[in-house]
Symmetry: C2
Subunit: 126 residues, 2 copies
DNA sequence: CTGGATCCGCAGAGATACTG
DNA sequence: CAGTATCTCTGCGGATCCAG
C-alpha cells in the first residue's frame, strides 16, 4: 500500500497519516458499514441484511479491515449456532459522529446535487 | 419508533441520493481535492501541486465530477496563458466543514490506528 | 496553462460454492 | 450462523502524448 503518501494535508503544512486513514473510509462500503455497526453490538447477518447490496465477501473483507484498524471489536460467542458480534470502539464512535455529519449533509443537499447534475448534463448535451 | 435499524438500506440503495453523494466523496482524491480547493479560488496548477501524487488526468476528472455535482464553480479567464479558477459553492463549504471533522479525527487518531494495525498484524503473524 | 485522448495494469467488487 | 476460497469482470487510476 502506501504507494504514495498523498499529502492531502499539505494545506496544514504537515505530513501526517491522514490520507492513509482517510483512505480507509474511502471505500464503497466502509461508511455504510460503520454507520450500520454504530448500533452496537450487531451480528454478521444483521449487517448483511442492513446493508443491502453488499456481498458476503465484501462485508467480511471490510469488517476485517475495520477490525485491524482498531475501529471494530469482534466478539465470538462459543455457542451453537455461532454468534459473532461487532462493536464500535471508542474512537470509532467518535468517527461515527463525523460520519453522521456527512450523511446529514448528503441528506440535506441530495436534491440540490441531483439538480446540479441535471443542469450540467443539459448544458453539456449534444 | 425505536428505529433500531438505521436506514442503511437507503444508504446502500441507489434510489437514495445519500449513497450517491457519499460515493462522490468516497474516491481516492475527492476529499483531498475538496479540502485543497477550500481556499478558493484556486487554480488548476496550484491544486496539482498541493495534492502531490495526483495525476493530471485524475485531477481533471475529479474536478469535472465535483463541478457537475454543483460543488465547484469553474471560472475561465480569457487570457493568455489560460487561467482557470475553481471555487467552492455554498453547499460545498458546508460539506467542507464535515470533511474537516473527518481529517481532524484522522489527525487525532492516526497513531492509534497505526498501533492497532501493528497489534493486529502481530497477533496474526505467521 | 489547462486540459482531452488513449493504452494498460492492478485492486476492488460481484457471483458462486464450500466449510466449521 | 459466520465465514473462506476462487474466478472473473469492471473501472479506477497512472503514464504518456496531443491540443487549444
Amino acid at each position: 500500500m502506501s504507494q504514495s503518501h498523498i499529502d492531502v494535508s499539505a494545506l496544514a503544512s504537515e505530513a501526517c497519516p491522514v490520507s492513509e486513514v482517510l483512505d480507509h473510509v474511502s471505500g464503497k462500503w466502509s461508511i455504510g458499514i460503520l454507520v450500520a455497526a454504530a448500533q452496537s453490538p450487531v451480528r454478521f447477518t444483521e449487517l448483511e441484511r442492513s446493508i443491502r447490496g453488499i456481498s458476503r465477501r465484501m462485508l467480511t473483507l471490510k469488517l476485517r479491515k475495520l477490525e485491524r484498524d482498531g475501529l471494530l471489536v469482534r466478539t465470538v460467542h462459543p455457542v451453537v449456532p455461532p454468534k459473532v458480534e461487532y462493536t464500535l470502539t471508542e474512537m470509532a464512535q467518535e468517527l461515527h459522529k463525523s460520519l453522521l455529519e456527512l450523511t446529514g449533509w448528503a441528506r440535506r443537499h441530495g436534491a440540490a446535487v441531483a439538480a446540479a447534475q441535471a443542469a450540467y448534463d443539459h448544458e453539456h448535451k449534444g
